[in-house]
Symmetry: C2
Subunit: 393 residues, 2 copies
Amino acid sequence: MRFANATLADGSRHDVEVADGRITALPAASGRPAAGDDIDLGGALLLPPLVDGHIHLDKTLLGLPWVPNQSVGNRVADRIEAERRVRAARTVPESETGANLVRQVVARGTLHMRSHVDIDSQLGLRNLHEILKVRERFAGLVTIQIVAFPQSGILRSPGTAELLDAAIAEGADLLGGLDPVGIDGDLDGHLDALFAIATRRGVGIDLHLHDGGEGGIAQMVAIAERTRAAGLAGKVAISHAFALGSVPLDRAARTADLLAEAGIAIMSHGPGGATIPPLTLLHEHGVRVFGGSDNIRDAWSPFGNGDMLERAMMIGYRASFRHDAELAFALDMVTNAAASVLGVAPYGIVPGGPADFVVVEAETVAEAVAARPTRKLVVKAGRVVARDGVLVP
Amino acid sequence: MRFANATLADGSRHDVEVADGRITALPAASGRPAAGDDIDLGGALLLPPLVDGHIHLDKTLLGLPWVPNQSVGNRVADRIEAERRVRAARTVPESETGANLVRQVVARGTLHMRSHVDIDSQLGLRNLHEILKVRERFAGLVTIQIVAFPQSGILRSPGTAELLDAAIAEGADLLGGLDPVGIDGDLDGHLDALFAIATRRGVGIDLHLHDGGEGGIAQMVAIAERTRAAGLAGKVAISHAFALGSVPLDRAARTADLLAEAGIAIMSHGPGGATIPPLTLLHEHGVRVFGGSDNIRDAWSPFGNGDMLERAMMIGYRASFRHDAELAFALDMVTNAAASVLGVAPYGIVPGGPADFVVVEAETVAEAVAARPTRKLVVKAGRVVARDGVLVP
């Protein structure tokens, strides 16, 4: 079959020929009317599938009656406490709310995601098991990479290191971490634990690092050293990395060089209240920069909806992006760059590649990011899985 | 007629009885099925109409083919230059693009707005005349308050003071201003010109103040002194006021006291790249704080869509709001507080008041802000003017 008259990101007009779930050819648009099973896109913009590089499928309360935020303080530690209370009051398992979120994001064009899953001494591997069910359930539709995330710290929640190790054995793909200094108060202890498991298990690491200023930078420098020593280049990411946005630019630039050399990627969701890393500077220094939703209607944040075009807009808004090339960079963060970090391959609109794509009514990539139109079509392996923002049953 | 089974902002369930464009009664929901012309809201949330306290109807390029941003530098002065180039290339008058924007925002529930309109020695009163046409055209649907805005400065664009004066004579409602120091380089000269016209014409003032840090604070202090001296309490607003977010909190608090005493309101759009004023601190110190869209798809910004529920979310996101009361405060900024600053009266969901309201599928005000659902109904004077996000022809 043929998806006729698509505008690609570079502005060129093509037909997309599809068979057996793959793109078989990308000829210049013939202008031939659609026939049979063909779908005429009428010049709409065709993008690769959206990629969410940082989501918390187990935290969302999506589909439940509205749950007011209950955090008392603003520190990460206060909010961990608040989440415990919300979690205790839950009446629906994480596999159901997680599934609600997967359905919502697929309808908005996300077909690949990296989900952090909380692991601590209270929860054990319960949330992992719930999200493994979600991964299984939607296996034909989306890829879900799972990060075993020590939301309560590693050292301050005894037994967590062993649980992280067990999580990898049971199907988690990467190890997470959390503010080695701000939460665990022990940089070396936290990193010792993580890198030991990562080396033994042969997996990557994606750490949450909220700690700001020089303290945060020092932790990045340590992570870069450990990454080099462990030979984990290309397999480590630091999520948030607010510190890069709270130090002078030359300091950020020198840190960027270290990160690039160590092969560490940086994830930003375009934070609302915190400082945003200097994204283009990082990119210019060779750091892969990718995007993610972070919290979506959960105990951490009432905001968020998993729409990665909207996320690209939020990132661009926070980063003072205005030019078309900047908006294209924001889109890249939630498509190509995120796919690269997550190891999604093959990826992109290429002959021989998977017939996965998203269609929106927009003239240009810049307009798609700025206006975030409803997804006209979401196509997975050549099959229309969502139309006009609604899943096809 | 009756809008049955509405949930009001406080959670109570009411029927809204309407006659001759006004709310005649608000009895507790009877549960009686809708009959005749009645509309059953099925428990959906009914909000007062949204108010945009800061829009630029003459700048938007909405409805034109995508126009890439052309600014070369990041300073306000660079961006004024970039806008001149975009303006020169325009093929459609501001009255048409402005009308496109009015239609879009009405479909999203905005029924009152304050639009700044560019005035300088090149443009003269052309943009004012274009937006006066828009005001006339939509007079039955929305109220548009017009600010005569010296986008190129007053002193650095000779003749502008006279044009501002003429703009008031021709129908503008308030005087605008722009960074007295950052653009005009003459605090007293800029304020002399503005307050002389305001006093002579008996109108209020709404200044754009981007200048940050202590320099920005000093300008606010001067504006507060002038406002007191001119007896303009309650008629002056400062838009953006980034400086309040870039000084220590105690300095912001002392400035807030001066602003409150002088009766000066502060407008924030939840800036992406600049510092946001401490909104709750300002409110606690007695300053009226209101919200606006600012730029919408124009030479200044590719972003924005005029959706004031989304704007409340952006404000809340930037201000680190999470609790229901904070989200309600963000909504207040684009409803009651903005209506109060704009002098929209009567306003609100009260017997005897206008039958103007917005209906969304949300359990609570907090959810409405966080999720920004499509407007189920927009009602003006008892008439449904938009349904499911689309204007009723």
